[in-house]
């Protein structure tokens, strides 16, 4: 079975047979697959009247099970702290999170989940994960494990130390 990236690789092979097709293929598929997954995830949340970035922030707070500072949130969600200020503003306006003072350091603050925010995450996370599973449906249990093993290795490599 071939995929669209194979076509892409064939084109390069015809012109520059010196290139490392295995590497190009892996990275190419990674990027393409992520775009497709992103789109599908976005579609799911849109159907549930939510945006992807809202879930990212709320879910990070939920799974951490404690208030987080904007800095911690930014690191988890992988956006700039400027973007986070904006996101917190909008979530707070809808009363899904609240800003609270952090005792002992007035530079910083704690972002907490409100009850409404927590209810919203809890009610969407299940369907979201089901949707993720559905996207992997073509992989049997063994393949899925193998995929996780390979990706884990790469994540570790690129995250540097750890």
């Amino acid at each position: 079975m071939r995929d669209s990236v194979d076509d892409f690789l064939d084109q390069w092979a015809a012109l520059r047979s010196d290139l490392d097709l295995e590497a190009m293929g892996a990275v190419g598929r990674l990027l393409r697959l992520t775009r497709l997954v992103d789109k599908e995830v976005g579609r799911y949340f849109a159907e549930h009247g939510m945006e992807r970035w809202e879930f990212d922030v709320l879910a990070t707070l939920r799974r951490s099970d404690r208030p987080l500072t904007p800095k911690e949130l930014a690191a988890n969600v992988m956006v700039s702290s400027a973007a986070l200020t904006n996101r917190i503003d909008r979530l707070a306006a809808r009363s899904l999170v609240a800003r609270e003072a952090v005792p002992g350091d007035r530079r910083s603050l704690h972002v907490t989940l409100t009850d409404a925010g927590r209810r919203l995450v809890d009610s969407t996370v299940e369907g979201h994960v089901r949707n993720e599973r559905r996207m992997l449906a073509e992989l049997d249990a063994e393949d899925c494990e193998e995929l996780n093993r390979l990706l884990r290795t790469l994540v570790n490599t690129l995250e540097g130390g750890r």
Copy 2:
């Protein structure tokens, strides 16, 4: 060996043991890994005085080995046609591509690589692929093949038909 996504999964497991960790892990790693790869690729091109999007467009033209319409380019690069107009403008301003009339359809046009554009792609693609290989260095040949197999399956699934 564990990675940062394992921590993330542990947090969910502690609170919601009903969730499908295998699926969350795979998708989570996919997204995280792509971010890391993106950053590294960006770093490489920045070092060579180039931006990622420039390479994307030029490389698509190069490997196609023929003039492409903006519509074809947009599909390959996965951005809107509006974004493509902007990119072509900027590449044309630097004389890396040229717009030419397409015979028989005056609505459309052909984007062609100039000699300078072609030289630029050819001189950077090699190092770029070497860099990609370097990111996969932890995987032996067999693992790399396996990764491509798994990703190919998923790309095919999510691309629908084909």
